[in-house]
Amino acid sequence: MDVQLKRGILDVCVLAAIKDEESYGYKIIKDLQPYVRLSESTLYTILKRLEESKMLTVRSAEHGGRLRKYYRITEAGRKRIDEFRAEWEEIMAIYRFITKEDGRYD
């Protein structure tokens, strides 16, 4: 898949994983497992990118005698998901157009 496209989709996947409640790294990977297989280093890069673009906030909290980082979605992050859905509608329309053309020539 096109790298740029895939990166955009993965960003939104991670945002979707924290959209209902804040979450932590391992849980995000597990929640996304049925849909995409994310490696730890990929997730780290995505979280860092989303934090820098202010789509999520990070806080450290104690858990079982150690620190764990929790990620919470921001308004900008929610907006990104909405944008993605709108973009996807367009892409689906194009997809239907392409497959319709296919059908005619078959």
Binding site: Y24, G25, Y26, S39, Y44, T45, K48, G64, R68, K69
Partner: protein, 204 residues
Amino acid sequence: MTKREFLSRLNEGLSGLPQEDAAGRLAFYSEMIDDRIEDGLSEEEAVAGIGPVEKIVAQIIEETPLTTLAKEKLRPKRRLRVWEIVLLVLGSPLWLSLLLAAFAVVLTVYLAIWVLVLSLWIVDLAFFAAFLGGLIAGVLFFTGSGILSGLPVLGAGLVFAGLSIFLFFLCKETTKCAAVLTKKIGSKIKSSFKGRRTQNETDN
């Protein structure tokens, strides 16, 4: 491998990264391993599930911009002493020219690769021009001096057309190869910023 071992090897591998970045990544992996253990895995299994350190280091280096790596490499680990600064300035005719030479070598390798590709494209263009020329001259000879002088020129033009089409694909492949090669050289230079120990391990 234990968690401790994994983290210390990762730490060595990431020694080329800015301190803050490396620390953030180490904390992230540490949390990941702890969470896996909490989920019921043994320490061994938890570490194994993360993947080989060498692969992780290679991926991180690949993702980090070359400028960040170079800056970190050049950043002095402590403040320079006065005599060190004096030595640096006095030695500048030596190290500066060596540095420039190193840059020049890399640049020359790139240039050599791409000039070769460019020259192939130019030859291809010349063949195409010869084809066009042959076509026009052939038609002119046909109408001017008859079929016997027109036919060979037209034939020669067509031969050039064939050559130019053949060479076009060759050019395309060469361009692709050159692009791959350029990228490979880039990664090679980048990998020299990896931590010492990991480098030796991958070499073995």
